[in-house]
């Protein structure tokens, strides 16, 4: 029904223009009474606060959060309100408040006040009226009464230091009243509708004055129910929804912030569907930041963030390091709480309730670097930072004052009397100022720090200004990196067209770190404080060294284009088209020459997915394309002709935009630009749009609707699997691309972290094994430890086998890939072993098929129990994969076949050939090897004949085994750690091999051998990392490395063989089995040797040791 003009409600706007202003805000929490006294009565007031607004504006804060300033008996620092519609006379008048509000708004600052409506003071007229009213009357029902103190017994007591029960006997009412906090703070009864009506009226009163935000105090406790813990109840959420609805109906650009000291998953309902609170504090993060700092380990932080759910787009976390209460330890485990007490409150007087009543600087022993580090986290984590007054100058506390008053002392403005806070007689002050030699106002005050360019205050001002330059901090996503060094916390903030890499050293010593930034290859990190350019990111791990408690904020910018590229991409004489609507004419029009010989080849060379960078391109042309109806993009087939006459085909989505959109592309994605375009309608750009939402949606629709679209020379055909619906979920959900990762040959687009769409850029005729095997496993087998397959898109050209262009899979929630997980485990393993003497028993040569002695296993269990368990699970999953791939089927591409003597002979020849080539490379490379590896390399070379003879063991064997499709490129990096299990991924095979080779049937032992080598790589790779920091430990730890590799390999093999035992897939003859497995392991080690010699000589030790330690 339409609303008539007279019914139209005008929503009263707040002072901020942007409805989401709170996402970019810097909130400053202060107590009026403690900030500035203007009338010399010893108590801060609103006129005083107004005098200090310029200071706050200069600091850069954008929102002021005022602690309760209402009339109150002050038995809980103002949280016991006796009149909601007035200003405490000691702080000024309502007019003073209004004047302050206007002055703050004039400076572009918003104002947040407290809505303390879980309880009132027992002096509030409502309570006085209630206790005198007869039971059952509406007046009485404003509060929660009981004849006994046994109701709601499951509700915990919050102020354990002072309260023994949540019920207190009232002699006037002759009944018990309910209170979750102090006994002088009776809880309001929201089962009485009049209570909510009154609360809404009070709220409107302040919003009408122009207040921008309300912090709702003690929000989880509004409603009580028997049989529950009386927290977070559905009825409480109904109350909040009413409050929010009232705000949305009558006001614009206002915000409510929930104080819910709960686990993140329990706070989520306070956001609801974006229709309850706009913001909520993230309570559990704060103690974990302190814990991570003290333990010099990122785990407490990454762990709690992993438990932090996504929140609606219009909602925001409120982050803080300290506030007016104690550093609460409610949201930590008992052990963690004990640790925190020991670490941060040596003196028992520092503790109150379930927490620590100290300010930021004293908690950190007044260490400037620690203070800066924690503030850097506060400013760069996803959420809105909230500063507590005085912490910007490193104010101290007074643990000899009662309750939490020690952190609520007067603001220290100057070195003058009373810290410049008041000119009253010091005895009149509401609280003594801090006066000790370290923290006293003579040493720590605003005036001194304003004059000191190196002060904490100036540092804070600069950091706040810097944060405000980047909206990504308030609005972007967060993703942690997992470097091996756990003293380093590294995370990416992405969004708003910005990408920022934050790296923090939690240790008191300098720390090295190597970050896997492959997905940003080619980008330029620019240190944000000094605007310093760092080296361009490559495929190699990105090394950084951080000073003690150091941190880096690096903006990832597109790399500056070389002069050659610059000319190609930004030249004003780009391609000209006659009509912007028909820009495809660049593919066939008069000016296509420059496009094909210069612009498109230059673009391709810049792309990570273009795997032929070493070959010179003669020309590149778009030979087939189709336009997506719903987007401006086309799907293009690009044929590349190299100077050697060979051709390759690639696939890409290309879009052309003009005007502002073009400028935005230039700004954010210069590397994706193929060409400038000139048309009578203006200037545009042609660019690769494969990672864009519209393109992802169009491709998804192709799969979802199983559509075909005809291109100039063929068609693109989408297909969905029967499992699609389950993976996709509700079709009305928009799957926003979260990130786009380019690899060699492909680009993966993560859709709302629900599905991943993988585009195979390099076009090969025929199916891609990744899609082929993934689909087969999902549809034809019971193997469920791989990513669920949802669909695919083929490119079909007449007379050719369809080629897979894209595949769609479900995303598996995981704790990182198997390699990452194993490396972290190994780091801990070496830390444990570093001081433990290795037993006398020597570890001799290794027989890959041999049973590991029990004594070794027992020793290993003590130090690497988790790794052993994981290897067993992985062994079982590998066997299940092989059993699934080798099951009987009519599908000729998957039907298992006998592994014949002829196959064995062919394999032997191939491996011998590989081996000869590898030793030739080693021989040629020997003089160039780093000194420390020459001896090792020579030793391996001297055993050339023996090692190659090992391969001859395959000759003349009679074999009874099966060959089938296998993974083909199986190593720890191709697995995902999912809780205590493993998932197996990426079945495309070894990228260096041809597509035909990758689809060939093989003995599954090839995968097994590959995984055994991966264990070896992990063990020695981790040892290299560990000993790079502790060089003296190499000799001590090497036996431990061997122990780990052998026992983990043994556990893997043992579980694998047990699972495979009932099948006839593996050779039944032990001798043949051993010969085949050893041959594969040897072949793999030789392959690695060649790779490392050519690419990473510093890693060559690993395959060399692998070859030496094998049986000869």
């Amino acid at each position: 029904m339409s609303r008539s003009l007279s019914e139209t409600v005008v929503r009263k706007a707040g002072s901020a223009a942007d409805p989401l202003w709170y996402k970019d805000a810097i909130i400053y929490e202060l107590h009026v009474k403690a900030f500035q006294d203007s009338n010399n009565d010893g108590i801060g007031d609103f006129p005083g606060l107004m005098q200090r607004l310029n200071y706050l504006q200069d600091l850069g804060v954008t929102c002021l959060w005022l602690l309760p300033f209402f009339p109150s008996p002050f038995r809980d620092d103002g949280y016991d309100i006796s009149d909601y519609e007035n200003v405490n006379p000691a702080y000024g008048t309502l007019q003073d408040f209004q004047a302050f509000l206007n002055a703050a708004h004039e400076r572009g600052m918003q104002v947040m006040i407290e809505l303390v409506v879980n309880h009132t003071s027992d002096q509030h007229p409502w309570f006085q009226r209630a206790r005198n009213a007869p039971p059952g009357s509406p007046e009485r029902d404003f509060y929660v009464w009981s004849d006994n103190d046994q109701r709601y017994r499951d509700a915990r007591i919050i102020f354990t230091d002072t309260e023994k029960s949540n019920w207190t006997w009232d002699p006037v009412a002759k009944a018990y009243f309910w209170h979750r906090f102090f006994s002088h703070q009776p809880d309001l009864n929201y089962d009485n509708p009049q209570v909510l009506d009154e609360v809404l009226r009070i709220m409107r009163y302040w919003l009408d004055m122009g207040v921008d935000a309300l912090r709702i105090d003690a929000i989880p406790y509004l409603v009580e129910r028997d049989g529950t813990n009386c927290e977070n109840l559905p009825e409480t959420h109904e109350v909040i929804k009413r409050i929010r609805a009232e705000i949305d109906a009558g006001y614009a650009n206002r915000t409510i912030l929930a104080e819910a000291n709960q686990w993140p998953s329990d706070v989520l309902p306070y956001f609801a569907d974006g229709d309850e609170c706009h913001m909520a504090f993230h309570f559990p993060l704060m103690p974990r930041i302190y814990m991570a700092l003290r333990q010099e380990d990122r785990m407490p932080v990454t762990d709690i963030m992993a438990q932090t759910p996504d929140i609606p787009a219009n909602c925001q976390w409120g982050l803080f390091l300290r506030n007016h209460d104690e550093l609460t330890l409610e949201m930590v485990t008992d052990d963690e709480r004990d640790y925190m007490y020991l670490a941060y409150s040596a003196d028992p007087r520092m503790r109150v309730n379930i927490g620590i009543r100290r300010r930021l600087a004293p908690l950190l022993d007044n260490n400037r670097r620690r203070i800066e580090l924690l503030n850097s986290l506060l400013f760069s984590f996803p959420g809105t930072p909230i500063l507590y007054y005085g912490d910007e100058i490193g104010m101290g506390d007074n643990i000899y004052l009662g309750d939490r008053n020690g952190v609520r002392t007067p603001m220290q403005w100057t070195a003058d009397r009373n810290a410049g806070f008041s000119r009253a007689n010091p005895a009149k002050l509401f609280s003594p100022v801090i006066m000790d030699p370290v923290w006293g106002y003579e040493a720590v005050n605003v005036e001194a720090q304003q004059d000191d360019p190196s002060s904490l205050l100036i540092w804070m001002r600069n950091m706040i200004a810097l944060r405000k330059l980047f909206r990504v901090f308030g609005r972007g996503t967060l993703r942690f990196l997992h470097p091996a060094n756990r003293k380093i916390l590294a995370y990416l903030r992405q969004g708003e067209g910005e990408q920022v890499l934050c790296v923090a050293n939690l240790s008191r010593f300098a720390q090295p770190v190597q970050l896997d930034l492959q997905e940003f290859e080619g980008m330029l990190p620019v240190e944000m404080i000094g605007y310093v350019e760092f080296p361009v990111i490559t495929k190699q791990p990105y090394p950084l060294t951080l000073a003690p408690y150091g941190f880096l904020w690096l903006e990832l910018q597109p790399a500056p284009l070389s002069d050659e590229q610059d000319g190609e991409v930004t030249a004003l004489d780009g391609i000209r088209v006659r009509d912007a609507e028909n820009w495809e004419e660049v593919f066939y029009g008069e000016e296509r020459g420059q496009f094909e010989t210069s612009l498109l080849p230059a673009f391709l060379r810049r792309q990570k997915w273009f795997g032929n960078k070493a070959r010179n391109i003669q020309s590149a042309s778009v030979v087939d394309w189709v336009e997506f109806e719903s987007t401006k993009a086309i799907l293009a087939v690009i044929e590349v002709e190299f100077e050697d006459g060979k051709k390759d085909t690639y696939l890409s989505s290309i879009t052309c935009v003009f005007g502002r959109e073009a400028a935005a592309v230039r700004e954010s994605s210069a590397n994706l630009i193929i060409s400038s375009l000139w048309s009578p309608q203006g200037e545009g750009v042609l660019y690769d749009s494969s990672g864009e939402q519209a393109v992802a949606e169009a491709l998804l629709e192709l799969i979802e609707m199983e559509k075909e679209v005809r291109s100039k020379k063929g068609l693109f055909r989408g297909s969905a699997t029967p499992g699609y619906e389950g993976i996709r979920g509700d079709r009305s959900d928009i799957l926003v691309p979260q990130r786009c990762v380019s690899e060699q040959d492909s680009t993966s687009i993560y859709l709302a972290d629900k599905m991943v769409l993988k585009l195979f850029r390099h076009r090969h005729a025929g199916p891609n094994p990744a899609a082929e095997v993934g689909r087969y496993l999902s549809e034809k087998t019971n193997f469920r430890n791989s990513a669920p397959f949802a669909g695919f898109i083929d490119h079909v050209v007449l007379g050719e086998e369809p080629s897979t262009f894209a595949m769609l899979q479900g995303v598996v929630a995981n704790e990182g890939d198997g390699w990452q997980w194993t490396m972290e485990e190994l780091e801990r393993y070496y830390e444990r072993c570093a001081t433990a003497p290795f037993p006398e028993e020597q570890l001799g040569s290794w027989y890959v098929d041999s049973v590991v002695p029990e004594s070794w296993m027992n020793l290993s269990k003590d130090y690497a129990g988790l790794s052993l368990d994981a290897a067993e699970v992985l062994g079982r999953r590998t066997a299940e994969l092989h059993l699934a791939l080798a099951q009987e089927t009519d599908d000729p591409d998957f039907a298992p076949e006998p592994f014949t003597a002829n196959d064995l002979e062919l394999l032997r020849k191939e491996l011998e050939q590989n081996g000869s080539k590898a030793f030739a490379v080693l021989r040629d490379s020997l003089p160039k090897l780093p000194d420390e590896f020459i001896e090792l390399g020579a030793l391996v070379l001297s055993r050339r004949t023996m090692i190659l003879d090992r391969l001859k063991n395959l000759r003349g064997q009679e074999i009874q085994a099966v060959k089938a499709r296998i993974h083909g490129n199986f190593h720890l990096g191709k697995t995902l750690r999912v809780k205590t299990d493993f998932f197996i991924l990426d079945f495309e095979g070894e990228p260096a091999r041809s597509m035909e080779e990758r689809r060939m049937k093989q003995s599954p032992l090839q995968d097994v051998a590959s995984m055994l080598r991966s264990f070896s790589y992990a063990a020695y790779g981790s040892l290299m990392k560990y000993t790079s920091r502790h060089a003296e430990a190499y000799a001590t730890l090497e036996p431990w490395t061997k122990l780990w590799e052998r026992t983990v390999s043994g556990a893997f093999l043992s579980a694998y063989r047990a699972k495979m035992a009932a099948s006839s897939i593996l050779p039944s003859d032990e001798v043949v089995y051993s010969a085949l497995l050893e041959s594969y392991v040897t072949d793999k080690a030789l392959y690695e040797l060649v790779y490392e010699l050519n690419n990473r000589p510093s890693w060559v030790r690993i395959p060399l040791l692998g070859l030496l330690l094998l049986r000869t």
Binding site: L469, G659, R660, P680, G682
Partner: protein, 405 residues
């Protein structure tokens, strides 16, 4: 025959036919000038120009509307109350001019508005075509002129405005504060919607267009046009114009710090022979610089880092013949003053007053360079130097530590 109706309290003539182009001038005209404008505008429309054009004439309070009997039938005449010019610099507009023009353009469905200074050399249909065609036919939102001024003219623009705007905002703009320009109706709407508190500020349409991703073009115009501020105090001009630009830089910090490189704008027309240089006497300029370096050291020390002060000190010892203020030093001075403008170590008017001797030193150096017969080979684009120094500015802006080289 045009009809008349009220618009914004002034007499208005109105044609029922939508016009393509709305032309206006930046100050009220004298009666004798009006006739000439009618005649020129009559020549503007036709085969090579818009079919219909409208002329919006600002009137002073109490000023009589012009006689419309001589208005050509292809031109509709409008009058509107003139907006006061708080900048008090002829030809320099504030953002307040856009709102009435946007309303009128909307009403007339005009696709573009041409804003001109009513000077002798401007009243030329060819000039108007050069500025309006890139907007009407080329899809641009703003077309700025490139005047063929002499190398001794427009020195504030040459020394500061053009290189500073170009380097910070990544587009090579020759005259970012041009007094004559053509603007699309959609960009005009955007300017008209600027918040009330910036209405009285100096308008930098080039910067606004870049900030909002509107398309900008430049047109070579064979006009020796320059700022008519000869009788104004240089410190006042710097305070008004550079002050407004510095303020805007502060507001748009998140934008310009993200822009890298500098691209040329699309150019229309062909450069004409520049106007002839005038003789400028170096000695008084140099004396002003030397006086400043003696008297303003205290203020300069608050603004400039030691290495810049040292270079200036060396400079103060050379003879006028050896005079050369390096471009790199000059760009860093302008950036350091921008930073000081933001941090307010002293009042902003005093700060910009302290820039005057430095600017005069630059002028002296510039004039000296012009007299050098080998200057063709040594002259480098100043905007490019500003761009090279931009990282210096960004790093100082982000971490304004005085302890720097």
């Amino acid at each position: 025959m045009p009809k008349t109706e009220e618009y914004e309290g002034a007499k208005t003539t109105l044609t029922s036919t939508p016009v393509s182009l709305l032309v206006t001038v930046s100050r009220p005209l004298h009666p004798e000038e009006v006739e000439r404008w009618f005649s020129i505008l009559g020549n503007l429309v036709g085969e090579s120009g818009p079919a219909y054009a409208a002329f919006a004439l600002p009137l002073e309070s109490g000023q009589a509307a012009p006689d419309t009997s001589n208005v050509p039938s292809t031109i509709a005449l409008y009058t509107y109350p003139a907006i006061g010019n708080p900048a008090a610099i002829p030809g320099v507009a504030t953002n307040a001019i856009y709102r009435p023009l946007a309303e009128l353009a909307k009403r007339l469905e005009a696709r573009a508005v041409l804003i001109l200074t009513p000077e002798e050399e401007i009243v030329d249909p060819a000039f108007m075509h050069l500025l309006s065609d890139p907007v009407l036919d080329g899809g641009n939102d703003l077309c700025l002129p490139i005047y063929t001024i002499a190398e001794t003219d427009g020195l504030l623009n040459r020394a500061i405005f053009s290189p500073l705007v170009s380097a910070l905002y990544g587009r090579k703009v020759h005259f970012p504060l041009a007094q004559d320009f053509c603007i699309s109706s959609r960009f005009l709407d955007r300017l008209a919607a600027l918040p009330p508190f910036v209405q009285a500020e100096i308008s930098w349409p080039s910067v606004e267009a870049i900030a909002a991703n509107f398309l900008i073009a430049e047109a070579h115009v064979p006009v020796c046009h320059r700022l008519k501020g000869d009788n104004l105090d240089l410190a006042s001009i710097l305070n008004t114009l550079l002050g407004s630009l510095y303020s805007d830089i502060e507001k748009k910090a998140a934008l310009w710090q993200r822009i890298r490189g500098m691209q040329p704008l699309r150019l229309h027309g062909w450069p004409a022979e520049p106007c002839k240089n005038e003789e400028i006497e170096i000695a008084p300029l140099w004396d002003a610089f030397l006086l400043g370096s003696r008297n303003l050291q205290e203020i300069w020390s608050m603004v400039l880092p030691p290495v810049a002060l040292l270079e200036l000190k060396r400079l103060s010892r050379v003879t006028p013949q050896q005079l050369h203020l390096p471009d790199g030093l000059w760009s860093r001075i302008i950036y350091d003053f921008a930073l000081a403008y933001r941090l307010r170590p002293i009042s902003r008017s005093h700060l910009l007053g302290a820039l005057v001797p430095l600017y005069l030193g630059w002028v002296a150096s510039h004039v000296q360079t012009l007299s050098n017969p080998e200057r063709e080979h040594s002259q480098v684009d100043l905007a490019r130097t500003f761009e090279e120094s931009k990282s210096y500015f960004v790093s100082r802006w982000r971490w304004p530590d005085r302890f720097n080289p």
